[in-house]
């Protein structure tokens, strides 16, 4: 990126010329500055120049405000991507049949979505056969089964049984909920591959599963 690029962007702001501003940004991008770095490398220094020009009286209040409007118009060109890139990992998540405790599921699903995973939220009160149906429909290889009641947690093994009987032995099942936190043996007996202890744990476990699969695919 040319050294005077921030100055050029600043001038485009002050001249109220969004096209020129976008052109400066595109030139910086073409010179190899990544989207993640455009903001720091280009936008922030030009905003510093703008602030300095206003403070010194070089531009008046009206020009400052108009320049800020142009800056607003081009912000989306320089802002780092707010959503994570699509990982391609499909995750099925749902609460067990007769279980309507959705908070843990909702929070984990939102976190996984934000991390770029393709989350299919089956909702609450999901029968084991519905998990199987959706696995077959989507080719998902990762299922998160949520259960907050001891009675429904004990039934989580039926999801594994259903998948195994249909030949889906490679599907990774993660379980989530208070009963599994309290008694990890319950997860083992349900044939789960891991226990999700909340959103951060879901992110970690799903990333690990995705990495394992990617590693196996490369090998």
């Amino acid at each position: 990126m040319a050294d005077d690029a921030p100055l050029k962007l600043y001038h485009a702001f002050v001249d109220q010329d969004p096209a020129a501003a976008i052109s400066v940004i595109e030139q910086a991008r073409a010179s190899g500055v990544t989207q993640a770095h455009l903001f720091d490398a280009l936008f922030v220094p030009s905003m510093g120049l703008l602030g300095g020009a206003w403070a010194s009286g070089e531009i008046d209040e009206v020009a400052f405000t108009q320049a800020a409007v142009v800056a607003e118009q081009v912000t989306s060109f320089v802002t780092p991507p707010s959503a994570s890139a699509d990982t391609g990992v499909v995750v099925l998540i749902g609460c067990m049949h007769k279980d309507h405790h959705a908070v843990g599921k909702n929070v984990a699903a939102a976190a996984l979505k934000e991390a770029g995973h393709r989350v299919l939220d089956l909702g609450v009160d999901v029968r084991p056969e519905e998990f199987l149906e959706k696995v077959e429909e989507t080719s998902a290889r990762l299922v998160v089964v949520c259960a907050e009641l001891l009675s429904t947690a004990r039934e989580a093994g039926r999801v594994r049984d259903m998948l195994t009987s249909a030949g889906h032995t490679d599907v990774v099942i993660l379980v989530s909920g208070g009963p599994f936190d309290a008694d990890p043996e319950l997860a083992k007996s349900a044939g789960a591959n891991g226990i999700v202890h909340g959103a951060e744990s879901a992110l970690r476990l799903v990333a690990r599963v995705a990495d394992d699969r990617a590693g196996r695919a490369e090998a």
């Binding site: 903001f39 720091d40 922030v44 905003m47 510093g48 703008l50 602030g51 300095g52 206003w54 403070a55 010194s56 009286g57 400052f64 405000t65 800020a68 409007v69 800056a71 607003e72 912000t75 802002t79 780092p80 991507p81 707010s82 959705a102 908070v103 843990g104 909702n106 929070v107 984990a108 699903a109 939102a110 976190a111 979505k113 934000e114 991390a115 989530s176 909920g177 208070g178 936190d181 202890h197 909340g198 959103a199 951060e200 744990s201 992110l203």
Partner: protein
Amino acid sequence: MSADRSQQVALAEGLARQEQVGPAVEACYAALRLDASQPHAHALLAELMLAGDFYDEAIAAATRAIELDPDCAPAYLALGLAYDRRGGMWDQSILVWHELAEVVPDLVTAHVQLGEAFSLAAFDEEAIESWRRALELDPAEARAMYNLAVAALKREGVPTALPGFRKAGELDPSQDELFFDLADIGPLPRKLPDPAKVADDRDSRLHAAGVLARAEDYFGAAELVRAQLDASPDDADALALSAYMYLKQEAGNEAMACAVRAVMVDRTSVTGMYALGVAYAKRPGLNRHAARVFSALAAAVPEHPMPHVLLAESMMGLQRYSQAKAAYRHAVELDPACVRARFGLAAVLLTENRHAEAAWEIRRAAYYDTRRQGLFWELYDEYVEGGE
């Protein structure tokens, strides 16, 4: 009704206002031995028992006050708080807050508390309705906004809830207090400075501008800041104050320009860091930038809880929930009455499926918030003066 205060109750009141709980309780009992039919004395006793964490005794005293006078608003407040803090009595709690909202319909806190009681009893729709009612009565009611953010978190996760937490934080006076603490601007004086009469030196100008900004007289403040920048365009404090005022007027880019300039001029400017961090935090996609700035601010003023809260919120945006929790916990350690940190901590605990602990943090926030507002005394004074 208007209640006459006996000398003994007045003594108990005086002691209670000085937070001398033990002697105040003794004075209350003495007053009640003389005349057990004084509802305000029972209400006062309930408040004192609550302060000492004797919930059953508080419930008994408040209930007696209400039996003696069903319009005894301070007793409803004490009773509701006692039920909430005792836990497991949500049905009773809902009834009490509902009653208080009827006795004092424009009491915003009653609606906020009613919502929290509904939420704990799993009546989510009713809870949201109560918080919305509180916001109708007072659009700046931060605790209702925090609760709505927590409700959004439960339904749609952190990404949807986080803007709500930040919005609530802006309503919460503690964030502005941080800026003015950093700028060394104390509480508002009785008489605001006249910009035309401020002495012609840097410190006088900036102090007066800070006072006017605190009083939300942004025209007066801007005039003084302009004078200072005309004299010294590279004054980081003046730039940071400008950035703060632009932020308050929702002019995000102007704020960012001034804040960036302030930090470029002086990398140690804490007011500049604050304004820059807030400007970044307001924009989607800049959580990493906000976290970097708030981290520097927290390191620069480690004893202040609010930079840790702001850092925690940015960490939430980055899905670094453990780090967010550590920052929130640190803020709560620094100031157990920090409502924003308590709600934030509750949010992180919800991401860990730790619902009971989250509810506890929200209850503590309620306790400190009502104390901060001096709500009991407000209701009590209105009641004994007969002006309810």
